[in-house]
Symmetry: C2
Subunit: 354 residues, 2 copies
């Protein structure tokens, strides 16, 4: 399986540089939390679950170097590091969730000697990484029943192994259905401006031998109208209590098109993507990235010099357009206010997904 | 004004190579109809009205070299040339319309000596070119009332001077509104895969000083939901009798999104784009272009080698999603079966647009 990110005993974080895929498989090595933060900011590692894992590993790494006389001194510096990492990307909630897990771990073990506490933080980061893979596999098991034999599934952005510690969310569900022998075709939106679909999803599907057709984002309606798409399956960067979904820019348009053609629109995401403290998607901050990602194409200018461009990285799909939300503990259906809360509670009362 | 295409007295056709814009303004010179056909096929010149003009010029050029003893011999060879040109691109009807004008001209002057007949064909091609510009200006006058002061208009592909002999269709309407002092913002879809929006529309708008914001195609829904778009204004490659519109891939998705947000969706096209012989858009052939336009980006691979891709160049927007169709003789509203026929008849009974 593809290793998106790993941390050696010596504290070197190896990250598969996704900005250079699919033409080059290059790993970068980060030696402190700032280098990991930069890799997140530059989208060398991306995908909501993956940046959560990366942030946890980076925080554990940074923690090792903290000098302090007391837990309070240690914790205050840990919070500073966490804040730096939290500032890398604003939309995906998994980042904040993972940092929260790490801080809770520190508080839980505040009475340990500093060296032992640091070791616990390393273990916690590793646990978050491993749990992410297990969560994805559970998510695949829960969701694969939505995909029938012979189905063709439209997906957007990359929600595969590369977007996570491994296996994938929406693409993990597709993978699980494929692994049990279902014949599938995946329509892959190229996903401008960063081309996660063309560069990453196509690369993963090709490695797995899952049949796919790459299309530009603006072709989705054409293929839906032709009856070529049986369902849309996407991931999420944050899901509000009412079921509104923040995901890669263009997701909202797909949801409107899916409704127009009576095609089910599914979201697959781990519980760590839920932000039940937010009543609706309106409150989710949308990251505005550098306009050069739009006016240039992998470094080559495509617009006249000085052209003004916009680059919102995410959009909000209202819950009314979402047919179901697949999580690692079950499938939520409307009304989401109840079903998402129920799933979260179910997770608290059963052993970890594994 | 930008000269998309022109023909010298010596029979050299100069074409602004749109495949190299906006970074380079390079003209190519075509010396026979085959070179023009190749320029159309390779999209060095594109846009429904412009390829009509190019085909007429190419046919006039080819006609000069025909050797024949009789009109019948001449006409048979002319038809062969026309067939070659007709085979370049299947969707835009203006191509067939322009070739039809040229053939009718030959038949009208069949009694002239061959040399004089050839001269008439040159004049006819020149007339088609000049009429296109006049038609666009008339279209702008008819349509500009749809655009209010302060409006923001979303457009797709390129429908400006570059898509025509000059001035533009949908962008011509925008230009006409701007020329009378209205404050406007144009949201420009980049229009994958060939990037006509980013490369050509942005370039034209920048030259004219019309404010614009470049976006990727998948951002349209986001900005509509934010209330940033007052109307959509696009061109057309073919319009069926019932008002179904063939236009650049992605247009259909915009029309669905516009309806979802109660935003008017306007189409601007000359009467030469009407194909009233076709009852509906279902019969319009959709050009399938080389998948490399999708898997590569201006020559740089963006997908893994061997990735399968689809590349339909156009889609059909059903008439029910079209708020109005602007032509050079007036604005058609639903039901289009009546209103389009009325406009066509009106054109027959009044002097040429000018």
């Amino acid at each position: 399986m593809i290793k998106t990110i790993e941390c050696s005993q010596e504290g070197i974080v190896r990250i598969l540089d996704q900005s250079r895929l699919p033409l080059e498989e290059v790993y970068i090595e980060c030696r402190d939390h700032l280098e990991v933060a930069e890799a997140i900011r530059k989208m060398r590692i991306r995908g909501a679950p993956a940046i959560g894992v990366a942030a946890a590993i980076a925080l554990a790494l940074g923690a090792q170097k903290i000098q302090a006389d007391s837990f309070e001194g240690f914790y205050s510096k840990l919070q500073d590091l966490a804040e730096t990492l939290a500032g890398t990307r604003p939309t995906a909630v998994n980042l904040f969730w993972a940092l929260g897990c790490m801080k809770r771990c520190a508080l839980d073990f505040k009475d340990l000697p500093l060296q032992a506490l640091k070791e616990r933080l390393r273990e916690e980061a590793q646990r978050i990484l491993e749990e992410d893979i297990n969560t994805n596999r559970a998510l695949g098991r829960e969701g694969k029943g939505l995909i029938h034999d012979g189905a063709s599934i439209l997906t957007h952005c990359n929600t595969g192994a590369l977007a996570t510690a491994g296996y994938g969310t929406a693409l993990g569900v597709v993978r699980a259905a494929f692994e049990e022998g279902k014949r599938l075709t995946v329509y892959v939106d190229e996903t401008r401006p960063y081309l996660q679909g063309a560069r990453l999803t196509a690369w993963e599907l090709q490695k797995e031998g899952i049949p796919f057709v790459l299309i530009t984002d603006n072709m989705a309606g054409y293929f839906m109208k032709q009856g070529k798409i049986d369902m849309v399956m996407v991931g999420a960067d944050r899901i509000a209590a009412n079921g509104d979904v923040a995901n890669k820019i263009g997701t909202y348009g797909l949801a409107v098109l899916a409704r127009e053609h009576n095609i089910p629109f599914y979201v697959a995401a781990p519980l760590s993507t839920l932000d039940l403290g937010l009543p609706s998607g309106e409150e989710i901050p949308i990251e505005e990235r550098d306009p050069e990602e739009v006016t240039q194409f992998l470094g080559t200018p495509i617009a006249p010099p000085g052209a003004q461009a916009a680059n919102p990285a995410f959009d909000i799909t209202p819950a009314r357009l979402v047919s179901a939300i697949v999580t690692e503990v079950g499938i939520a259906r409307p009304p989401y206010k109840d079903s998402l809360r129920d799933l979260r509670q179910r997770a608290w009362h059963r052993p970890k997904a594994g």
